[in-house]
Symmetry: C2
Subunit: 229 residues, 2 copies
């Protein structure tokens, strides 16, 4: 466990807490780890969930399957990120989504009830933890709003560009390694894979992106977007 303390210290949930305190808090939060292989299901739709997950290694996808079998990737998270943090505080019993490990992953689970309940006098960090939890959920809220904006774009091209810009901005690199293969990217942007492939090909021929496998490079600044459509 010690191995992951530096990572945990950097997560939003443990912000402003000291590394040496986190260890003792984890016990207080009934923490346990579990490993998942690629494609392994962490939670299935309809399950009852009372804990939050933190990605220690690997990546997870929060997914929802339509009645018609069409699949949408709601969110995707890598190391240091929390997931399923909103269900318990919202009073949701059966979660409306499934969560998968998209690659071999190691997940840390924390008892949600313990996070928001002031335990005993000696655990003085709880109020900080609650504040942090609120911040985590609030930030996720903003991320979801950005996602809504992305999905509101009218064309595949705009969705791709918006997504690339956002990734570029957050990673601060021009070359970005997407956490998706083409199928997953299409499910994330909510478009048809082959149609997306066609648009990607057009954009490549026009010289505004280049890519190889899941590594993309954008030869267009956001400021140029006026010329892109």
């Amino acid at each position: 466990m010690e191995k992951y303390l530096p990572l945990l210290k950097k997560t939003a949930l443990f912000e402003e807490l000291r590394e040496e305190d986190i260890g003792s808090m984890l016990k207080c939060l009934n923490a346990y780890q579990k490993e998942y292989k690629e494609g392994g299901m962490i939670w299935g739709e309809g399950e009852t969930v009372g804990s939050v997950g933190i990605v220690l290694e690997g990546r997870v996808q929060v997914v929802r399957e339509d009645v018609h079998g069409s699949r949408i990737i709601l969110t995707e998270w890598g190391p240091g990120n929390l997931f399923a943090e909103a269900f318990a505080p919202a009073g949701i019993k059966e979660i409306p989504v499934s969560v998968f490990a998209s690659v071999k992953s190691r997940i840390l689970f924390l008892d949600f009830g313990r996070i928001i309940t002031q335990c005993s006098a000696h655990c003085v960090f709880h109020s900080q933890l609650i504040r942090n939890m609120m911040r985590v959920i609030a930030r996720k809220n903003l991320i979801l709003n950005q996602r809504i904006e992305l999905l509101g774009k009218r064309s595949i091209r705009e969705k791709l560009l918006s997504y690339f810009w956002a990734e570029q901005k957050s990673s601060k690199r021009t070359r970005i390694a997407l956490p998706f293969n083409r199928n997953e990217l299409a499910d994330y942007l909510c478009v048809d894979r082959s149609a997306m492939s066609r648009v990607l090909g057009q954009m490549r021929r026009e010289g505004i992106v280049s890519f190889k496998k899941n590594v993309f490079e954008l030869h267009l600044k956001e400021a140029d977007s006026g010329t892109a459509f």
Copy 2:
């Protein structure tokens, strides 16, 4: 103010608190009201916001304008609902959205800092208030996820049907009065207004919806959806 106490008691923020306590809490939270006329701007994109809003009367729309001028209605709230509750806890200074009153509205503002700060010993309700605040934000999180799912639908028809079903389910009526005119509905579903109008016309001719102005009736249960596409 007393006039609105019954409404406030029913809001998620004051859940499990007694009506007579809410009055004194409002002072503690620096509460003040303001009235807006139809179309009045409550906050503009880029403004600094440290308070949360509660709709007392009327309706508000949280909106974001694209660079190209295309407009998307992120969320829409009526009496009893909170808005802008995520910015302050997320540490956002300049809000990335605008908020309008879509009809004549009366808004109650609460100082966010005061909500999450344990004030003094005599205000014993604060921990309940913080728990409630977390629940509010978490629930909104789920609502945003539903919105993402809606926008993930591939056709205007599916978006319309999903929206109608959701409205029907939450209002528990077959006839639903939408809080949108056609332009706004299109901006909410992120589609072209005239294209939407065309699809609505088709659906009407097929007999699966009827509508007059903003009152819609759906002659199709969700279970029938297999036949609808």
